[in-house]
Amino acid sequence: MFTHIWKKEIQGELYTWKSMLWLVIASLLFSFTSYLLLTNKELSLLDQTELLWLLGKIIVGVALLILTIDASSIINVEFERETAESLFLSPVSLRDFILGKLLASITLWAAVFLVSIPYIIVTSAGSHLAWAFIGYIALLGMLGVVGFVFLIFGISLLYRSSKNTITTSLIILLAFATPALFTSALKNDVVSQVFSKINPIDNIFNSLDNVLVDYKISVIENWQFLLPLVIFCAITFLFLFLSAKRFTQQGIIRND
């Protein structure tokens, strides 16, 4: 049953001009960045691996931003258009509903990832890092996206309002992303270091740094970054599970 919801969402997301324009804008952003990095004389003095790392951060950052906004409305729209009642009157369980919406969000991530592949290949030319770069963007991006989507879906089921969910989700994304952009000089104290270890965006960027700048390509060499991301996904899944349980107890029509 979840495939039905997934297909319905994808038709809504990727079947009109308006809903696909963001992908073209994302592609223009990647075009501008890669062209600037490869042709600008000042930036071209950067080591190629640093350049790849920068592009990797932009791809993951854009994907997380798009997914945060999209996931914030994908569930709430059913409550705001009052279609949730009729949906749950049909033989659709909450699990199928969430799974279908999750697959739709992952499809959007897959679209961003597919669009980024030509840029990854052209910027990695001559570095022998293209496959590692593609593989790690796919793996890290997927873990980051799934973790954030679980979190946002959990918030959506609690709030049932797009506006509040978008605001909260964007603030959470910003709270994770801003310290991840700090230089290592600003991460010398214990608090920053501990936060850096648990921050999913920091772990994504550090793993990309490990692969692209330090040539540590194997999964074992990146385990210290992948494990916190897996734990982040598990924690956010637990949050979604508890939210869904609360949602079921309250019912579709909340009495507050």
């Binding site: 001009w17 073209v24 075009s31 062209y35 490869l38 042709t39 071209s44 669009v115 030509p118 290592s184």
Partner: protein, 179 residues
């Protein structure tokens, strides 16, 4: 029998001598010899990694304590010291104690970050010595990495959004035909 006054005088002289000896020791560099085993000049392109191999040896008769070695890199073109942030993951190496006549290897993996000519020295500093010990200079000749390939990037930078717009047209057209 030495008289008390004479005894005091001798003791003062002795203390003075000890003080001079201690001061002389403090103003010395630690009895260490540092040899660079790798080539005196290392060349490569920005982005390459090289390993600077060296050896530190205690040439003295006593152990040297609280010993730290670190790198010092100077951009010889711009006459400026270089921040080792991206050049080496290990900027310093704390050895601790090195026994008399003991030799220890020193290996530093250096990442050539930016084109130019550089001088690298390894410095050793020990507790109780005011002057550090330095190795001979290793020269780095780093040639620039040319990433200027607009011919490769331009078709992708222009082509990808154009292909996406074309796909959008097709999808929208198909949807309208179906309707």
């Amino acid at each position: 029998m030495i008289r008390p006054m004479k005894k005091t005088f001798l003791l003062s002289v002795l203390l003075l001598c000890v003080s001079f000896v201690t001061r002389a020791h403090a103003a010395e560099a630690p009895p260490l010899s540092m040899q660079i085993l790798s080539s005196k000049t290392l060349s490569g392109t920005a982005g390459d990694y090289v390993t600077v191999e060296g050896q530190i040896m205690n040439t003295g008769l006593q152990a040297v304590n609280d010993l730290t070695t670190y790198l010092s890199l100077v951009d010889t073109q711009n006459k400026l010291p270089v921040d080792l942030e991206d050049w080496s993951a290990e900027k310093g190496l704390y050895i601790g104690t090195i026994d008399a006549h003991q030799a220890l290897p020193l290996n530093w993996k250096i990442h050539f970050v930016k084109a130019g000519t550089y001088s690298l020295i390894i410095v050793a500093e020990a507790a109780g010595y005011e002057i550090p010990q330095a190795s001979t200079i290793t020269k780095f000749n780093v040639s620039p990495k040319r990433n200027l390939n607009p011919r490769q990037v331009l078709p992708v930078a222009l082509g990808t959004p154009i292909i996406l717009i074309f796909i959008l047209f097709l999808v929208t057209y198909k949807r309208r035909v179906e309707e």
